[in-house]
Symmetry: C2
Subunit: 358 residues, 2 copies
């Protein structure tokens, strides 16, 4: 049976990428060895590393005054690296509270400096993105942190706040490469790879050059963006195989129309599912319409026992990992770039069958 | 041409492991997906995770009062995590200076607390392990840090110091799983995976349970061993694919006689090469005989131009990454577990041909 993997992350990867990885697994090009076996100082690996960076730059039209870094530790490590490196002048920052990961980012920042919360959507179980007004950002601060797409609650920012010039730091783990962005709108973008980029263990950081190299003197080297910049993310051995797979994904996207084509495809996939949800009398999408994510689509039947049966029966259709996050229940269809439209159609087919029988 | 990869890390992996990885790359077991695509909360991945841990425990006979953790960031991240977590009572520790990585560990520790250097081998370009006497460790301290095998200089500890009860913290990145150890002799063992375990991006930490959970309150979660212990190394998404490959390596070792068989094989390989070096009039092993590593074998001709030619001509025999570290020059043959004895024989064959012509 064909499996459609709706996991929130690690998540499905393009089949073409996996096929190429399989083809090259034991012997990469003329090297006579696996990418996993390559010295990170070898010419073969350096080419992989530089091409991955260059292709990501092309995909997102990253301006020259931004560095692209490959770091380890996921978004969770960025929750600490961001305040360590950026909370250096005013020693405080704004954190918008729009979900579990936003709260985690905030909690880690609080260990290291002052945190101000201009707005929260906790009052309605994070089902929306609160309105952010310029007047909310009048205190001196080093940056404004947002979680651009909220994986658990299925919401996303459809426009950026006017922060009155404060740099925006964004967690883009679950929506990077899914739609066009203007990198210049941000001070720093970070994203764990395991949703829309590649395997877990790689984190992409895109940082405006004036924000790197500001960490206090006694900062551990591995937490200092300046060290990554100076060493082209090779101060120590980087997660070479993960970067290689990420590079295959970047190259695959470029070959298939880049971000614009991807965005059109993602909007089409999301519309299919939301339209069906809105027309159904059994299912209910949980996020406010205006803030709906096109990557993580959350819905419920309103009956926890029925939700549980839904998740169990979905498996018989090859639909897996559709269960909502344990903190909210219900269902979540994570439909990242690599989820084909056939997966959405299969899901809707099952949902209709299930609704008929329910 | 068959390639023998003498890289110091990332380094060669067992061919049987790579073959299995290739076989399973697109579809793991009955899951219908790649291990890279699996949710880290799925039953399939959890089994991989637990089996990797259990097999490592078996291989090293790790006692029950030690935790096995999978962390990201390599040994370099441990250079900071160790002092953050362990320099908590006396706020200082002993660091033995036996090479570049020992110096890096020391430098990171200095940022966080007091460092005492009981002995160093810097006077003779780190060509030996200094004698360590109990009288050197009389000051109050939280631990003694050693670098068990010095990748760049080709030395290793053949016995552990008597520290008068202070916990020994060891960087075993380049010799873990190569010879029998007694885990109870240590407070904490750490090792980047990319030499003798698996792909870069996974770090193994083996920590005595009383040493975990002592980090100060405001420690970033991702730097706190206690957080890894409490969450079975899944506080956030672990480097799942790297852990999977590491697990394949553990299982491969168990199937092939475990550490005892590996040690015998490694000693045989190293003896072949050292015996030849000692009998040669052209080449000279650089490390003191008593402290010779069986993982990294460093040698020179005494003529930098000739060394350079050696490295270049070696490639025509399929011998790659034999160049010494840029800080010392000469040659280095890294002969980790996965380097077959045929590789050593091929190297010696080339060395003899080269000597004849030189």
């Amino acid at each position: 049976m064909k499996i459609y993997n709706f996991s929130a992350g690690p998540a499905c990867l393009p089949k073409a990428v996996l096929r190429q990885a399989r083809r090259e697994l034991m012997f990469y090009g003329e090297s006579g060895m696996s990418v996993m076996e390559m010295s990170h100082r070898s010419a073969d690996y350096e080419e992989i590393h530089e091409k991955a960076k260059a292709d990501l730059r092309k995909l997102l039209s990253i301006p020259d005054n931004y560095h692209v870094l490959f770091i380890q530790g996921g978004a969770s490590m960025q929750f600490s690296m961001v305040p360590v490196n950026l909370m250096t002048e005013h020693r405080r920052a704004y954190y918008v509270k729009t979900g579990e990961f936003a709260k985690k980012a905030l909690a880690e920042a609080k260990k290291l400096g002052g945190v101000m919360v201009p707005a929260s959507s906790e009052d309605r179980a994070f089902a929306y993105i609160p309105e952010l007004k310029k007047e909310m950002f009048t205190e001196p601060a080093d940056y404004v942190h947002i979680t651009q797409n909220n994986t658990i609650y299925g919401t996303r920012y459809t426009k950026l706040p006017d922060t009155g010039g404060l740099p925006i730091v964004t967690d883009m783990s679950s929506n990077i490469l899914s739609e066009k962005i203007n990198v210049s709108d941000y001070g720093l973008i970070y994203a764990g790879a395991q949703k829309n980029i590649g395997p877990a263990g790689v984190t992409v950081v895109i940082i405006r050059e004036d924000l790197a190299g500001k960490a206090p003197e006694n900062t551990p080297s591995m937490l200092d963006y300046g060290v990554y910049v100076k060493n082209d993310s090779m101060y120590n051995t980087p997660p070479t195989y993960g970067i290689y797979i990420s590079g295959l994904v970047f190259s695959h996207l470029l070959k298939n129309g880049g971000i614009e084509a991807m965005q059109a495809y993602n909007e089409k996939k999301a519309a299919l599912l939301y339209d069906y949800l809105d027309s159904s009398s059994l299912y209910k999408a949980t996020a406010d319409k205006k803030d709906r994510s096109i990557m993580n689509i959350t819905f419920v039947t309103g009956d926890a026992a029925l939700d549980k049966r839904f998740v169990a029966e979905a498996k018989t259709y090859g639909i897996v990992n559709i269960k909502g996050h344990r903190s909210v229940g219900g269902m979540r269809a994570s439909i990242y770039n690599a989820m084909p439209v056939e997966g959405i159609k299969k899901l809707i087919e099952f949902m209709k069958d299930f609704e008929r029988k329910a």
